[in-house]
Every structure is written in C-alpha cells, then in structure tokens.
Symmetry: C2
Subunit: 145 residues, 2 copies
Amino acid sequence: MEKLSPVLTEREENFIRSHRIAHMATADQTGKPHVVPICYAYEGGCLYSVIDEKPKKVAPDKLKRVRNIESNPQVALVIDDYDEDWSRLGFVLIQGNAQILPMGTEQQRAIKLLREKYPQYQTMVLEDKPIIKITPISVRSWGAI
Amino acid sequence: MEKLSPVLTEREENFIRSHRIAHMATADQTGKPHVVPICYAYEGGCLYSVIDEKPKKVAPDKLKRVRNIESNPQVALVIDDYDEDWSRLGFVLIQGNAQILPMGTEQQRAIKLLREKYPQYQTMVLEDKPIIKITPISVRSWGAI
C-alpha cells in the first residue's frame, strides 16, 4: 500500500495496519500517566480511535483518556507482538499529539474506517461518538516487525 | 494463592499472575508519556520488571523508562486480554509508584522470580541488572477478567 506518513517507514506502516490493538498512554497536567488498550484505524499517516460503546461507566467527555488529552495532547502509543520465542518480539512506538474530533466529516470518515477494520463496530451506534486522532511526531521501532 | 495486596482484589491478583505481558506508561517531567511492553513478576503486592538483555541500544540507566521514573515515579500499567469476541475483553489498570532497585537482596529476589516465570531469562546474565519495582496505589479493572 502507499506510504502515507512523513515519519513512519513503509515497514512500520504495514505493521500498524496489520495489527488489531494498540496501547495508548496519556498523562494529566501533573504528569500522572494513564494507559489503555485501544482499537484503531490508520489513514493519512494518522491513527483514529473511537470512544465507543464498550461499557464505560462515565460519559465520553469524562473519560480519563479524554480529559488527559484535553489538558495535555502529548500521547505515546505502542503496537507490539509478544511471543514466547523472544527472537520474534517487536514493537512500533509512536509519540505524537492527540486531539478530540467532534462530529464532522473527519470523525465520520474515521468511523467508516473503524467499521471496515472491526466488524464488531458495525452494530454499534457510533455516529455521535468523538474520535481521538493521533498524529505521529516521532517513531521508534524494535525487533521483529 | 494468598492475597498479597491491600489494593488489588484476589481476582485481579490472579489475572496479573496468569498473564505474561503488561504495558507500562511513564512520563517525563514535562508530562510527555512513554509506553513499552514489559515482562513482570508479581510478589508481595508489587510488580517487578528487569532492564534485561533484550537488545537495547543504550545502557540501562539511559533508557527512557528509567530516566522518566527517576524524574517522575508515577507510572500506569495495564494487563489486558484482546479477543475478537469483544465480550471477552478485559483489563486490570494499575496506577502506582515505581522505583529503580540497584543490586541487592530485593533485586536478586526479583530476578529469581522472573526466571521462574520466564524460562527465557535463565540463560541471560541479569545479576547486575536494575529492577523496576512498581507499588500499586489504585487499581481499576474492567470486563472479563
């Protein structure tokens, strides 16, 4: 596929496209970190994740990851393989900026991409859900990617 | 097994013990987050990870995770299951403090525990490697743990 990012190599892009889950770290204004597994879609050099209906106890704008991004847009995201054969370990670590996309053209496009990648999203109501958009600034990869 | 932690439930402890990999987030003094997959051992309510020989380009004390912990001991760590059946998703998210243990009794004990859990460590020279010790402060779990 076409290389889309100015900071990711083609191999890193393929690794990102071929994986289903990432782990995203955010931090609040005091530097207290937070980390969650996320589903994501990749397009145009950016990653998109939706604040979906997987049971959450609080409204989307109250989620810790969202509050952290609103007060500190710096995020880190790692996509990796674990294997008991440690010669097969590998990861792509992205540091970048995140923003919350409210309803609109880019948010609807991201939902379409997420539904193409994850059939599980096809039966969820997502149209009104905010999207986290991550723009990579620096990337480091390691091991067998 | 005996419940060891004042902040983790028995179910959370069992989930932690039965998993092989965690994702640990740190942040530097400016609040810039970092996240890496780690192997860990659990004992006495704490998690231990070694700065091991898996190829690193820099010396242990220069690693980003170590420099972040030295300047900001707050960490977050998530252990989770991904499954295409999303009713089987689950995670345990720990926020706590980390410290770097230099060579000594607790560091040697942690290496022994790590070698018991991961046979891959048995052929690595770890005796002189620092240990990251994570003491949980708060825990949140979600889904099918």
